[in-house]
């Protein structure tokens, strides 16, 4: 299976994978492919992003389907895969009673590094993630941002070929978040580490990834390169109106356009290729609303996301 436009072998792929937890279907017939480099796994909370990562790690056995990671069948050789994977979990995780350098070195040893190499790499990656000065502190005393960094360090210590980052900027202050994203970009671009970044934060994914897999309600809503997906089949306009907004949105949607708010009083309207500004004005006239602002806009990842999951 390959993504259109992808020239390289995918680092991970899922073929019709379904996962059920009791009565709830967490993943439904998911087929996705993660190309080398940085791929964003995007979706709202509960979309199935973390479940997908856990399935690829072998934590959860799917009820149907097949998966490959780094060309290895997950069901057949989960340990071989995990030897080449780094996983930064979403929730805090540490080994009680250890300082940072012992913890990271221990993780290196668990991943198969000799003790002396693991200790050396622990120092290196702790410096790399910005915890060099705090590496002899007990990890239980760390702040939320530091806990995120040490989770990245333990995932990196054995030099994985593929990193799974599950919400890596959760709970971080703006500066820390920016630094974390810089590290992610550095890993993907300069250190040749492939990574899958799971996040519900569009700016994080847009800042770090070339490609994206958008998930919604346990299924893949869309996937591909962000650049391609942004070149939407639709034009995007920013519109501000005076009048009954709900009626105007309903009329737009009846004409085949999509509309979502920006958090201000602006609407982002995705129109079909055969529609243009003139159609918007005439529609507004028919609905007796005033168009106060109308400007063509550049498609964003948010538009891709909104179009994929049909969000208003």
């Amino acid at each position: 299976m390959s993504i259109p436009g992808s020239e390289d072998q995918p680092v991970a792929s899922l073929d019709n994978v379904s996962v059920r937890f009791g009565a709830q279907e967490a993943l439904r017939d998911v087929s996705a492919s993660f190309a080398p480099g940085a791929v964003g796994l995007l979706g709202p909370n509960g979309a199935g992003k973390s479940t997908l990562l856990k399935v690829l790690l072998g934590f959860v056995t799917p009820t149907a389907g097949r998966m490959d990671v780094l060309g290895i069948d997950v069901a057949a050789h989960p340990q071989r895969i995990r030897a080449r994977l780094g996983y930064m979990p979403e929730s805090d995780g540490h080994i009680p009673g250890m300082n940072a350098v012992s913890f990271v070195a221990y993780c290196g040893q668990l991943a198969g590094l000799p003790r002396s190499d693991a200790m050396q790499r622990a120092h290196e990656v702790l410096h790399y993630v910005g915890l060099g000065e705090a590496r002899y502190r007990n990890t239980e005393t760390y702040s939320t941002g530091m806990k995120q960094r040490i989770k990245l360090a333990q995932a990196l210590v054995h030099d994985p070929d593929l990193l799974f980052l599950d919400e890596p900027t959760n709970g971080m202050d703006p500066k820390g978040r920016e630094e974390m994203l810089e590290l992610v970009v550095d890993l993907a671009t300069r250190k040749s580490v492939n990574l899958i970044l799971s996040s519900h934060l569009l700016p994080d994914v847009e800042a770090t990834c070339d490609r994206v897999v958008v998930m919604h309600q346990g299924t893949v809503a869309t996937q591909g390169s962000i650049a391609d997906l942004k070149g939407l089949r639709r034009q995007v306009f920013e519109v501000r109106i005076k009048g009954d907004v709900d009626t105007f949105i309903a009329a737009l949607e009846a004409e085949g356009a999509e509309c979502h708010g920006t958090g201000e009083d602006l609407l982002r309207v995705l129109v079909t290729p055969d529609q243009g500004p003139r159609d918007l004005f005439s529609l507004a006239a028919r609905q007796q609303v005033q168009v106060r602002h109308l400007r063509p806009s550049v498609p964003t990842l948010e538009d891709v996301f909104a179009e994929a999951i049909g969000e208003e």
Binding site: F21, G22, A23, Q24, K54, L57, G58, F59, V60, Q79, R80, R82, A83, L85, G86, Y87, P89, S91, D92, G93, H94, I95, P96, G97, Y106, C107, Q109, L110, A111, G112, L113, P114, D117, R121, E124, V125, H127, Y128, G130, G132, E140, Q154, A155, L156, H158, D159, E182, D186, L187, R190, K191, S192
Partner: protein, 280 residues
């Protein structure tokens, strides 16, 4: 602009061990962690107290003919294990209660299991830590006592007359420590609190002993000894050391109960040690 930290990360080109040895890392780290606690050294010293006393007794009996009273017998080794029971309980609670519970509390299981190791390896590593210390207060001193007896008496007469003693010591120590370790690990996997796990384990041991004691007192019969965690071990121990079983219940029933407890513990561990907890 290239950040300074760019220099501090490089790809690893050294050797990597094949999967399958991570349990040794877990066990060794667990052992080192416990040995950093000064209080535990006092516990170990106390646990070896009996060994030193008996070693002196063996020496005296071997060198002074009027002190034959102190000469070792099969009962001596059986009694040795009975006295060590309290230390087995203490070490099990002190070392074992937090082994999995603390990992569950701090979400460490997902860190462990994201590395190239199986759930069985994780449990084996934790089991290794606990078994090391339990054997250190049971099998190791008992075997050393047997060795000292040979050294002090400069004769193989005692060992020759009791050839079964070496395997009996080994077998009983293994039964005792495996039952204690598996039960404790299973309880530890059920909780996120080491303290609660410790109380639960001590409760299981003491409560079952109390129930048996009450039933025994009322009925004046020990046919329900299999109800007690410790009584089962005592019963099996008597048989292994070729002594008259002390309770009326069939010793085979005690073997079945011990096997069932270990089996139940393995089942609990299989259910609880997972990289992701699924609540349906």
């Amino acid at each position: 602009m290239t950040p300074i930290h760019d220099q501090s990360y490089r790809r690893y080109t050294g050797v990597r061990q094949e999967p399958g040895t991570a349990w040794l890392v877990i066990a060794a780290t667990g052992i080192r962690t416990v040995l950093t606690k000064k209080f535990f050294w006092l516990v170990l010293l106390a646990a070896w107290g009996q060994f030193f006393v008996r070693a002196v007794m063996f020496y005296l009996s071997a060198n002074f003919s009027n002190l034959d009273l102190l000469a070792p017998s099969v009962e001596t080794f059986r009694q040795f294990f009975e006295i060590q029971e309290i230390f087995v309980l203490f070490v099990t609670v002190y070392v074992g209660s937090g082994l999995i519970a603390n990992d569950r509390r701090s979400n460490a299981l997902q860190i462990y299991l994201s590395k190239p190791l199986t759930r069985a390896e994780y449990v084996a590593g934790k089991l290794g830590t606990l078994l090391f210390f339990l054997l250190l207060v049971t099998l190791v001193p008992a075997l050393m006592l047997l060795f000292l007896e040979m050294m002090f008496s400069a004769s193989l007469a005692f060992v020759g007359a009791n050839l079964f003693l070496l395997p009996a010591i080994t077998l009983y120590a293994l039964v005792e420590v495996l039952l204690s370790a598996f039960t404790m690990l299973a309880l530890s996997s059920l909780s996120t609190s080491a303290r609660y796990t410790a109380m639960l384990y001590a409760g299981v041991v003491l409560f079952t002993a109390a129930v048996f004691g009450i039933v025994n007192g009322i009925t004046n019969s020990s046919s329900l000894a299999w109800l007690s965690f410790r009584a089962n071990l005592d019963q099996i121990g008597d048989v292994i050391f070729r002594l008259q079983p002390r309770f009326e219940s069939p010793w085979l029933l005690s073997v079945v109960v011990v096997a069932l407890l270990i089996g139940l513990s393995v089942w609990v561990l299989e259910r609880r040690v997972r990289g992701v907890e699924v609540v349906t």
